[in-house]
Symmetry: C2
C-alpha cells in the first residue's frame, strides 16, 4: 500500500519543490532533446489537440506542447513548483493555452478528456519513484479511447560490468568495521559497557549501506563486459500497476571480453515515442540512458555490485533470475533479488549466487 500523502510529501515530493532540482533535469540535454524532438518532429499529434502533462514541474513539456500547436494543455503538478510553472507559462505568453493545476494527479478533475498524455515520469532504473502509477491513473481516467501516450514505450536493461568501485566499497565497509571494533574496545575500557553484541547488527547495517545499495554511476561503454538483456518492456498505453509493481525476469548474458572481471551488473532504461499504432509518429524518437561517452544523462546507470568479483572469460554464459519489488516501508524505493548461474565456456559450472540489493 502506498504511504500516506503527507509522508510521501516529506520523503519524495519535497525535492521537486526546488528550482535547483528542476534545473538539473532541464539541463540534461539528452533528456531535453528527446522530448523536444518527440514533440516538434510530430507536431501533427499536438496541433489542435488537448494534452495532459502529468507532473509538469517547471512546465517545460506543457509549454512545448502549446508551442507545437495544442489547443489546450492541462499541466498538473503536486508541489508548489506549480506557481513557478504558471509564471513561466505567462512569461512565454501561453496562458490562454496552458492551464497549470496544483494538485496530485490522483485528486485532480479535468473538464474534458485529452488526446495526448505527456509525462517525464522515469526514475533511476526506470521504476524508482513509482511515478508511472500516477501516469496510469491519469491515462485510465483522462485519456480518450483514441488517445496516445508520450512516451509510448519503455524498457529496462541489464548488462555485466567491471568497475573499480567494487574494491573501493569493500574497503570502505572494512574500514568502518575496523573502526567499530576499536569503538567496542574503547567503550568497554573507558565506560564499562560491552557493545560486542551489536557487532552483528552493525555489520548488517553497514553491509546494506556499502555493499547492497545500488549506486548511481555514469558507466563508460568499455566497462560493459558482455551482452545487455532486456528485463522488461512496457507499453505505456496498456500497462497496469500490477504489471510494474513486481518485475520478474529470467534472462541470459554472455561475456564478450577476454579475461573480464565481473564486478557486478549495470541497469538502465530507454523510452520511445512512437505515437499509437493507428496513428504512428512521423519521426520515432528514442531516449536511452545506456552507458555512453557523449550522451550521458542525469539518470546514469544503477550499479549492483558483486562481492567478491569473479574472473570470467569470453563466451561464459550467465543465467540471471531477477525480481524487483517495492520496499515495504516506502513504495517509491525498490528491492532487488538477483540470482545467477554461470556456465563457463570451458564447460565448468560455477557455484550459483543470489544477492539482495536495495535501490534507495
Amino acid at each position: 500500500a502506498p504511504v500516506p500523502k503527507d509522508v510521501d510529501y516529506a520523503n519524495y515530493f519535497c525535492t521537486y519543490a526546488f528550482l535547483y532540482h528542476q534545473k538539473e533535469m532541464l539541463s540534461d540535454r539528452v533528456r531535453m532533446d528527446a522530448y523536444f524532438n518527440a514533440i516538434f518532429d510530430n507536431k501533427k499529434h499536438f496541433a489542435g489537440k488537448t494534452v495532459l502533462d502529468v507532473g509538469t514541474g517547471s512546465g517545460i513539456l506543457a509549454i512545448w506542447s502549446a508551442q507545437a500547436g495544442a489547443r489546450k494543455v492541462y499541466a498538473v503538478e503536486a508541489t508548489k513548483m506549480s506557481e513557478h510553472a504558471r509564471a513561466l507559462v505567462k512569461a512565454n505568453n501561453l496562458q490562454n493555452v496552458v492551464e497549470v493545476i496544483e494538485g496530485s494527479m490522483e485528486d485532480v478533475t479535468l473538464p474534458e478528456k485529452v488526446d495526448v498524455i505527456i509525462s517525464e515520469w522515469m526514475g533511476y532504473f526506470l521504476l524508482r519513484e513509482s511515478m508511472f502509477d500516477s501516469v496510469i491513473h491519469a491515462r485510465d481516467h483522462w485519456l480518450k479511447p483514441t488517445g496516445m501516450m508520450y512516451p509510448s514505450h519503455a524498457r529496462m536493461w541489464m548488462a555485466p560490468i567491471r568497475t573499480g568501485i567494487v574494491d573501493h566499497k569493500l574497503g570502505e565497509y572494512e574500514s568502518t568495521m575496523d573502526d567499530w571494533r576499536s569503538f567496542v574496545d574503547e567503550t568497554k575500557d573507558y565506560y564499562g559497557v560491552d557493545m560486542s553484541t551489536l557487532t552483528k547488527p552493525f555489520s548488517d547495517e553497514q553491509r546494506k549501506y556499502y555493499l547492497q545499495t545500488s549506486l548511481w554511476n555514469n558507466l563508460h561503454p568499455h566497462q560493459v563486459i558482455g551482452t545487455a538483456a532486456i528485463i522488461k518492456e512496457i507499453d505505456c498505453l496498456t500497462a497496469t500497476v500490477t504489471d510494474i509493481e513486481k518485475v520478474r525476469s529470467n534472462f541470459s548474458l554472455s561475456i564478450t571480453m577476454e579475461n573480464a572481471k565481473l564486478c557486478g551488473f549495470g541497469g538502465w532504461f530507454d523510452v520511445h515515442f512512437r505515437g499509437r499504432s493507428e496513428d504512428p509518429a512521423e519521426q520515432e524518437i528514442e531516449l536511452t540512458t545506456a552507458p555512453s561517452v557523449d550522451y550521458g544523462t542525469h539518470w546514469g546507470q544503477q550499479v549492483f555490485l558483486l562481492h567478491p568479483p569473479m574472473n570470467l572469460s569470453e563466451g561464459d554464459d550467465l543465467k540471471v533470475s531477477f525480481v524487483m519489488s517495492r520496499s515495504k516501508g516506502n513504495h517509491r524505493l525498490m528491492e532487488v533479488e538477483l540470482g545467477c548461474e554461470i556456465h563457463q565456456h570451458s564447460g565448468k559450472l560455477l557455484a550459483p549466487f543470489k544477492n539482495k540489493y536495495y535501490i534507495e
Copy 2:
C-alpha cells in the same frame, strides 16, 4: 502545531534507527564523559532510585544508571533502536533492572513515577529537534514532586566570529547564479523557452541555501573575536514548552580583537548536572559545546554568516536582538531573526542590519 507522527518519523526519527548514527554520539568523548561523570560522581542520586531515560537510543544512559545502583530504569525509545538497546542491556546483564520500552514518550505509560529523569535531548544550538518537549512531557507526567532532572540546566550562547567560510559561501552562491544565467541563455537558444522570469525565485532559493542556512562548524577559539553572551537559560525542572518554543533575547557583544573582520555569529550551548537545590549534586558536571581545540563535540557550533562581512575594532559594541522560532512546516527546525546595531569605539554608529536565518 507539531507535524503528524508518521511525517515526523520520516523527517526526524528515521536517522536514529541507524546504529551508525548512535555510534557517532557514543564516540563523542566530551558528551560521554559528561554523562558518565554526572552519573558515577553522583551515585547517591541513582543508588536504589527509579530512573526514566527519555530517548534511550542504544541504551547507554539507562545502562550506566543501572550500573550506578538504580533499583529500576525505564528506557523509552521511539525507534526500532529499542531492540538493540534491549540486546545490549541483556549482554551487560542488567535485564532485571532496565526495562526497554519501545514507543514515543508521549504515548508511554509507566507503572510508577520516578526519582530521576535522565535524557540526552540536545540538538544543534540546543533546541533544534525540539526533543526537549518530550522531556517536559515526561517530567510533567512521570517525575515525582521531589524528583530531579539530569541535566538540570541548559544555556544558549552566542559570540561574534571570523571565518573564511563567509567568502567561500558567497563564491558558491555567485557561481550557482552564473551557471543559472548560462542555463537561461541556452534554454532560450536551444529550446525556445524564456526562463528569465524564474531568475529571482531561483536566486532567493539559492541565497537561502548558501547564505541564510546556518552551518555546522567546529570553530577554533581564535575565531571568536569578541565576548560571548548568554541568549537563554533553562531550568529543566520548571521550563515549559511556551518558554522554549520562541526564544527572544537582546544582548550586547563587544569586539575584543584589533582589526577584527566580523563574518557572522557562532551559536552553541552548555548543560549542567546540578541535581536539585534541596539535594544538590556532590560533583557538579558541565557539558559545554563552546569552541575548543581539544574538546570539540559532534554538536560543533552553528554559524550564522554575515554578507558582506564588516571590519570592526576592539571596543566596538554590538547590540543584538535575537528571535528564534520553529519553522512553520516542521516544528523540529528553526528560523532565526538576528538584528544588530553597532556602536563603534570611535563613537560612530553603523547602519543597523537585520538578517533571517534557517537552522535546517
